[in-house]
Subunit: 491 residues, 2 copies
């Protein structure tokens, strides 16, 4: 491959002769990893023309670089980066530059300070033999062939002109229509198109909702809950009130007075898996109405109801327009897809659409259209059935192994799901447990990050069966039991 | 197509007999547009089982719906939505629901109040014969075939496992590597991987940068500028100071004292097309350093330099880490792609990454990988050359027509671009001009929204040649000249 001549620029503030500066430019390109072994340099003629210098200057610079083994010459075919050229330092930060900006005083606020739960999961989790982790779909279950066909259809001539356009603040009409006609009715929700907004995954939906309603408002979160929820509420300026959940989820009587926003996962509490009973749903809506509060319903994992039909969404009972509903295809299609949706009153959705337009305009059209085809051709339903069967089998094996090895379940969800919420004999620090297990190729998720501080219970952990093959579950659970039986390591 | 039985739910708060409620449920589904003519209903057996009612109740409900012509029966093949069923009211808002939330007091702030320039462009612009509009790529120029091939490659087995995963806060390494090694060096910028963040288009990059550095800071914007920039700065809590640009762009001497953030388009001022000369670049960096200010450089349209090689980015002169660089593939690949990038100090990028993770996690993996292939296989460079040739031709024709018809150019950019900034004889209101031209199938963009209020000049307009076929330009310009020659219509 020839390195394009356009990628060469002489550093205008560098010292020295032209020839020395050209040498430096090439050497820095090699040292920084931009130019790689075997790549061909532009000819002396082209380089001279591009830089506006004489050809002999470039030739002399190249000759010096030959002598110092940065380059090799292959006769008439030209100059190449030498195999013996110094290795780049793994593309790390360039030491030569000195940052003169005081970022502490320049940044309006820091976003790197919160807990980084997800990021603490090893990125190379596929290399572990017993990955009991949540949120990473098992690629072997995905209907790759039909997804490809839908993607090709969406890349076809019919859709292409549409998809290449800037949609400003609009969503894909076919996707919206499918969600309105098929996805939401299954949750008991009837919504018109102007009550739906496509988002970049559930995270983006929760973020938009929080920005719109949570500023300076007393905002209830379930304790424990999805940790990133507390982070995005903090960023939105919410006054966060964690309310402990019990075996039946959030207790409406436990809500503080003057609550203005209630974030809840009624279908499938995250992470304890409980389902909010009908009586509590009615009570929750009534208390919210009395306090003039908004409810943000994260309808987390409703598709994974393989044991029992899912209860309708809380939103289906909402006569007031008080419930903002968050749905997602990401987890069940695949997390890298990044597609979710918000359902709420038209007035709320209008504001959410305007905020989304300012933040990112719209989710990529091609991804939306591909999903619309995948859904409308029935592949999504078939996929859900396939995943459900696999999860049902894995759950059965997991429960049997848990029973066999005497582990303790804290919550497992009557409908199904992809994980079991576990507890351990008093005093076990599951962060240490997880670290010890990692050395034995077992990944579990410590429970503490799900709780609001400062006295987080350390004895819970989440055992997800969505990514681990069925035949490895028994041995994985056995290893957890062994580790629990050992005296705790570390401080 | 059979309507899935799971989409049926009895309204729990509805009155009446079970049979009446089933009838109402089906009729509402038809009236709301969810069930369409010819679609098949679930069998009475399935429906009865799903709802937990007796089969005879369902049969009686269906029979009533036959009588009222909502359904037709086709003997043993079952019940279908009748061709004569009432038409749904175009899927508008459902009148039956009463929103009881006071959104005025509930919403923390409104986002729909700002100018909606982009949204004022007709969504059906392709139906106009002379669309001199910006930001919509001519689909006929796009290399559709190779994009499809790259998309297929990215959907192949090798990449698929990777792309289905949640990447948490990480970007596609191949895309980052290509940007670092090839794209940025062409702009004179050497950056390491931790100094680059992929964003959901340039809009998202500007939004992230503004959130991080503009709160309560005196922030200079060029006047005129990209209108959405002022909107996202306002949302970020910036103190906005518009500074008029001249033929050479932003004048560093005109910056107010204590400016802390400077938003600029040095390569190609938006919308006036001027290029910031080298002396002003040095002066701008020096003044910024003296004031301790951050510069946000939007390197807008640098690829469209078909008349003269582009000047290196301002960022290439930045020794201090003071310049935050915004680049984008969206406009030149296609706007619906939504891919851009931020380049800045590693510390800044770390914060931007954390903020992005909270807002949307990461741009979809498949889109990133497809772009990485399209770039690294050389298709992007070829596309840019093809677009440049087309634009060069169109620009030539446009300039000739402008000269021929006696129109007046305010700024046209020495390097190229995709539009010409026009002015009109004193007193012409280009909003009225644009409305009059629209009736003659000509679209132009009035200049007023680019200016900061309240005394926006009304006499400018932007004439873009990126979407209009070459052979229509002459006639389109002729029509503009005709309209300008007419006495102004309206108030």
């Amino acid at each position: 491959m020839v390195i394009p001549v356009e990628t060469f620029f002489l550093n205008p503030s560098a010292q020295g002769t032209l020839q020395a500066r050209i040498q430096q430019m090439v050497a820095e390109g090699i040292l920084s990893g931009r130019f790689r072994h075997g790549e061909k340099l532009p000819s002396t003629r082209k380089m001279a023309q591009h830089l506006g210098v004489s050809r002999i200057t470039v030739t002399l610079a190249y000759t010096e670089l030959l002598a110092s083994d940065y380059l090799v010459s292959r006769g008439r075919s030209g100059y190449f980066v030498s195999e013996n050229a110094p290795e780049p330092p793994d593309f790390g930060p360039l030491a030569s530059r000195q940052d003169k900006v005081d970022w502490d005083s320049t940044l309006s606020r820091r976003y790197t300070t919160g807990p980084r739960l997800d990021m603490d999961k090893p990125a190379d989790w596929t290399r572990y033999k017993y990955p009991f982790i949540y949120g990473q779909t098992d690629a072997s279950l995905f209907d790759h062939a039909n997804w490809r066909l839908c993607a090709m259809k969406a890349l076809g001539a019919r859709d292409f002109a549409l998809l290449t356009q800037d949609q400003y603040d609009q969503d894909d009409r076919e996707l919206i229509s499918f969600i309105a006609r098929h996805t939401l009715p299954r949750r008991g929700i009837i919504a018109s198109e102007d009550e739906i907004l496509i988002t970049l995954g559930a995270q983006n939906a929760l973020w938009l909702a929080a920005q719109l309603v949570a500023l300076d408002r007393k905002t209830v979160v379930e304790d424990p809950c999805y940790p990133a929820l507390r982070g995005l509420l903090r960023q939105a300026g919410a006054e966060i009130c964690p309310v402990p959940v019990d075996q039946d989820g959030l207790n409406p009587d436990a809500l503080p007075v003057d609550t203005k926003v209630i974030c809840t996962t009624p279908s499938h509490q995250c992470p304890s898996s409980s389902t909010l009973p009908r009586a509590r749903r009615d009570a929750l809506l009534k208390r919210a109405a009395d306090m003039g509060a908004i409810i943000i319903e994260d309808d987390y994992e409703f598709e994974m109801s393989f044991l029992r039909p899912p209860s309708p969404a809380l939103k289906s009972l909402d006569e007031d327009g008080r419930v903002i509903y968050v749905g997602s295809f990401s987890k069940s299609l695949f997390p890298g897809l990044r597609l979710g949706y918000l359902v709420g009153s038209a007035e709320f959705i209008r504001e959410a659409r305007a905020l989304r337009a300012s933040v990112l305009r719209h989710p990529p059209g091609h991804v939306q259209r591909t999903a619309a085809y995948f859904l409308s051709l029935g592949h999504y339903d078939a996929l859900i059935r396939k995943i459900s069967r696999a999860y049902a089998e894995r759950r059965q094996i997991t429960e049997t192994a848990i029973l066999h090895h005497g582990l303790e379940i804290a919550g497992k969800g009557a409908h199904g799901g992809s994980s079991i919420w576990m507890t351990t004999p008093d005093g076990t620090d599951t962060v240490k447990l997880a670290n010890a297990l990692r050395e034995r190729s077992v990944l579990i998720e410590p429970g503490a990050p799900f709780f609001a501080g400062p006295d987080r219970p350390s004895s819970f952990f989440r055992l997800a069966y969505s990514s681990i093959p069925a035949q490895r579950i028994e041995e994985g659970v056995a290893r957890i039991a062994e580790a629990l039986a050992q005296p705790q390591r570390g401080g």
